[in-house]
Amino acid sequence: MSTPDNTTQAPDNTSQTPDGKAKKSWFSRLPIVSHLRQSVGLQRGMLITGLILCGIVLICAIFAPLIAPYGFNQLGTSEGNFGSKLPPGGTHIWGTTVGGYDVFSRVVWGAQTAVSVIIVAVIMSIFAGVILGLISGYLGGWLDRILVVIADAVYAFPTLLLALVMSIAISGGQSSAWGGIAAAAFSITVVFIPQYFRVVRAETLRLKAEPFVESAIVLGASKTRIISKHIFRNATRTLPLIFTLNSSEAILTLAGLGFLGFGIEPTSASEWGYDLNKALPDVTSGVWWTSVFPGLAIVLTVLGITLVGESMNDLNDPRLRVRRKAKTKGAKAAKAVTSSSDNETAEAK
């Protein structure tokens, strides 16, 4: 099975050293940048669309105070209240909600909530999951067995229900200004720890038997050093991918919590799922703008992150990657190679 190394194959290698050796700058080796460079066709389209969507959400999140015409909990200006259920147009381009908030402003501020929850939740779960996975996988023994059983049990639990229980545990179901975002983030963290744990543990188990780890043991390196130096780097290569997938799931979980009324009160922050919950009765009376805009915000955010993650997944997998050369000449031969490699893996399973 031929798996050409993409670092040497990319034709537009601008940062080549004079002697022709493929040595790229640190910038072009960054995960997303390198993926962008080696992508073609539909995969590139997906990746770019995803990046643009993510960019819009990030810009909304960072510059929310500048973009949004009103505050997320603003009911009116000095001239009086906005009014309830105003249709889109005029001063409120996306209309107003039942509660009298400006829909456009709430959607823009919602991006800030979503991004902060993702960042906090995913970073915390990566930390906890990776550390537990490394220790459990490397040390083994009873600790490993207990952790695996717990992780399996939690993994089998529907994420939304677990997040619900967690948010009851953290905030008692009440959301204060601090509690809302933190509770949501913590709840989502707990849901995702087992996923990182499983992946990292499996990788650690595999790496433990590799010669370079054995040689480190022979050289007298301590367990901490082997775990943190030798195994950590190698076991965490697939994490950017899981990171993107989890971010999209984090948003869906956050929205689900908000939809069940466990979100963040409108006075402390804006949250899309909560807005959709409040918009539920509007739908039957034909008031569409209170639900469609926050809903689309969720869909486009998740879509953006998923597209980035999906194309990264494809590009990391040589069997799924569409190569430039295969496009120009001998497409059939390339196809034969891919299908035969599919064969091999299928048989290996």
């Binding site: 717990i150 939304l160 929205a255 034909g286 969720i298 998923t306």
Partner: protein
Amino acid sequence: MSAAISEPEAEAAETSVAVKKPAGGGLGRYVLVRFLLIIPTIFILTTLVFFLMRITGDPITASMGGRLTEAQLAERIQAAGYDRPLLVQYFEYMGNLLKGDFGTAISDGQPVSSILLNYGAATVELVFYALIVALILGIPLGMLAAYHRDKAPDAALRILAILGYATPVFFAGMILKLIFGVFLPILPIAGRGTTQTEYIMSGVVSPTQIYLIDAIRIGNFEVLGDVLAHAVLPAVALGVLTAGVFLRLVRTNLIGTLGQQYIDSGRSRGISEYRLVTKHAYRPALIPIITVMGMQIALMLAGAVLTETTFGWQGLGFKLAEYLTARDFVAVQGIVVFLAVIVALTNFLVDVIAAFIDPRVRY
């Protein structure tokens, strides 16, 4: 949800299942060991849920706090036994669970077990409909995508599947309600039936609570039509998400089997491509779907909570949301534990079915 999308995760799941499997032994042994493995899972989940729900305090204060005086509150807490040490309460709770006693809801005084019985059937019915929608949409479309691999239909279907994943089930439900209930009013958008249907159903002798079966049993086709019409939108909202997952699974597996040699030999004997896909390649490609179905049913149960709230479908999820709003954590805990047990049992059943079909699973 992401397990469906990401391949590395699915692989991780497989490896850890493989670790649990005992070497040697036949199907009977596999089923037994697999069954015994549910016990720690359920034990851990119930323990986890119990302690998490009690971190913030007792359920009475959570539900009644602020509405009663301190003395009244203390009296109620004592009457319900929530002033005893947590561990004593824990063992009592676990003991009661074994007897099928899930406690009594604080807000309406109903035993949680009767709530589970009365509303569980509606959830089962919804998940069943959604599963049918998912299979009807997902499998043929997945075959189509594999057949047209890397061409326009494949790309379009792939984007559709991602869109299906990216849309929260309640938003999909609201859009469906807007389109088919308000702008183009052709389908009912709330409840499991009209008031008349509900009235007829309440009169059924020894009801299964599954309206589809009850309607057939009483032989009333008007009611049957009404029940099915009410099910369309919730089932589609919940089913489309899973359809995307099935689509991708069928596509990937079909592409795998299409590359096998027996397909080549079939092709050389002049069997049409269509027949190769629909007759020869798809059967082996279906086995992974059965395995994944267990996890999907778990996700659907969670999705049902949101779908039921969106459509006013009087099932467990609908009640769960109601009790959450009422801050009745005894009922919430009961429903969550029950759903967790159902999920564990479903996963077990699916594993056993997979082992029956595919001998490689059981070693």
